[in-house]
Subunit: 377 residues, 2 copies
């Protein structure tokens, strides 16, 4: 499991301050190849580590990833970028690598610069602790509000894809950052990694409800070592990457503090996938819908109102809604009795039939709304 | 104050069930003119009363408005529309009016039809109770989660604009419906009323944060009796309508159960008003920003992250943010110390400078996030 499941990688997770919980992770690709691909936040306000890593990824090669869970280094201006640069140079020196091939990711408080007297010695310490069995420790070191480390791996014919993620957060109040590092020992060029990663994130991490808070730090990286000496079929490799991403995404949804329900929102008979997704996101993110799910009430009118606020193609009088498979709304009006729906279990499925085409999409969310006001007091 | 402040109107507010709290209001225009304008929800799933009233308003004449606060009659299909029609016919009979000139508005539970054995006798009872002093009672009868009735009036030179509103709700969890009836004794054609109403709602009711939940029932009506026999200057009349709407909108923001802060979000130096509004809505609706305001923390990076998720024109490294007038962020980086900001008072102002033009916009919201999960338990 984790990033050291494939051959050719080592990792470490340490407490950069020397005490306290682990907050700094390092993942090193020992090659022979260093091909890599990355996906980053769509937020136009990007943290310094994102700016740095986007530059690195343009070269298609990554020899190491440094992950700081103690400071997001976001909204810190040119000085914050210098801090990121200094941390990378320190890692390059410690590892004997080219700084231009070292990616960085970070999560934690925004608007403050990292404490360099903690971070720089931490980088040295992490480099000393690198181990081919260090994947689990790295996964623990990137946790913030997460209650559990999140790791996954899939084995192909002579090659492996492994990965770790952090972020109870993309769905929960607070730190909304998603950090993911995927590794493989397959021998593939950066273009192929990029194709597989894009396809996988589109149907996994992009389909968990983010409560409308888009982080400045979201980073998803895929590194290939080529150590297995095997080049898988593109489709087979893409399926493995998607499977690891789906596993991690599901773990993210499960690890949302305070959630009592896991909700699958399915949209069927849409005119386009974009419509299906827009409707799915509107329903998954709707406060009234989430509150009803939490209260174990089949509030299909709330679902219709969420659908009605989108620009998707549909006729209001043809909409249908099922809750846990019971069609409580047909033709935009009441159908089966709401009392027939059993909402006592943790898993809830909301199905919206747009009666407008043959496309569909599914998203995962929870019953937790953006920020329970009571918690902030 | 309220809808009976101008001459030519009577109103009633009664408990349609005969007992319990008032839940049915009737506002009657005694003329001599019956010109009217209306603005309705942008939700494509519209309640039966909205469908009915949109038809009525096409004629530009309204002799009476029936408001039911016990049942939204939304997502009820053709049968729900028949119920609305029957209630209107009953009101037409009771008042001796033309049914095609009677508007309807409603709020309450969705997905269920109104209890006609309550509603129809209620219509008769309301017609019997009509009084030229009934404005306050009508304003009380349309309350749902509101803790106070909301009324306002402005006097011009020989004419008056009055109004009532309900909806702690556009900003609060739960029933998100905004119902507003404005009245005037000025003598103006429907086209002039329509122009004034559109201009007023655009900068008042459309600029309070609706937490992403768009009601299927939102209705804002403006009725003119002409009883004052005066035709005001268009600009003067428009200013009075805007003033009444602004007063009611402010009352809506104040009456949000559980809110501890009233937040004014100002966006300045935007390239366009649309950009300013988009940024304002993104900030006002952002869960992280609201939570920080509630906790009395000047979380300007959270504001930047909200801005960064929009498509507005700006350069991240030129953004500035002030909290209660203290510029805690300049050039996208820390400026004045966050500790200099005093957030102990109820009123909070967040200012975003996009450094991209000369347009601006302001919105009002509260520190209350969509749906405190704890409340639903």
């Amino acid at each position: 499991m984790s990033v050291t499941a494939p051959a050719g990688f080592s990792a470490a997770g340490i407490a950069a301050g020397g005490a306290g919980r682990p907050d700094l992770a390092l993942v090193v690709n020992h090659g022979p190849t260093l091909a890599a691909a990355g996906q980053f936040t769509g937020n136009r306000v990007k943290a310094a580590p994102v700016h740095w890593s986007q530059q690195v990824l343009r070269g298609g090669r990554v020899s190491a990833v440094l992950l700081d869970a103690a400071c997001a280094n976001s909204c810190t201006g040119p000085l914050g970028f210098q801090d990121t640069h200094a941390a990378v140079e320190r890692a390059a020196r410690a590892l004997g690598h080219n700084a231009a091939e070292i990616a960085v990711a970070a999560t934690g408080p925004m608007g403050v610069r990292p404490a360099m007297d903690r971070l720089l010695p931490g980088v040295d310490h992490a480099a000393e602790q690198l181990s081919e069995f260090g994947g689990e420790r790295a996964a623990r070191a990137i946790m913030t509000s997460d209650t559990q480390p999140k790791t996954a791996a899939v084995r192909g014919a002579g090659w492996t894809v492994g990965g770790m993620a952090k972020g109870s957060a993309p769905l929960a109040p607070g730190l909304a950052t998603l950090l993911v590092v995927l590794t493989t020992d397959a021998d593939l060029p950066a273009t192929e990694l990029d194709r597989a990663l894009r396809a996988a994130t589109r149907v996994t991490f992009d389909r968990i409800d983010a409560d409308g808070v888009m982080s400045t730090n979201d980073t998803v990286l895929l590194l290939a070592s080529g150590a297995a000496g095997t080049t898988p079929e593109p489709a087979e490799f893409a399926a493995a990457v998607e499977s690891v991403c789906a596993d991690l995404a599901r773990q993210l949804v499960r690890d949302v503090e305070g959630a009592t329900k896991e909700v699958l929102v399915e949209v069927v008979h849409a005119a386009s996938e974009a419509d299906a997704l827009a409707v799915g996101r509107a329903v998954a993110g709707n406060a009234q819908v989430k509150r009803a799910v939490r209260a174990e009430v089949a509030d299909w009118p709330g679902v219709l109102a969420a659908v009605g606020a989108t620009g998707a193609a549909f006729e209001p009088h043809r909409l249908a809604v099922a809750v846990n498979g019971v069609w409580v709304c047909r033709d935009g009006a009441p159908a089966a009795a709401v009392a027939e729906v059993d909402l006592r279990f943790r898993e809830v499925t909301l199905t919206v039939d747009l009666a407008a085409g043959d496309r569909s999409a599914a998203l995962r969310t929870t019953d937790l709304t953006a920020a329970p006001a009571a918690r902030a007091r």
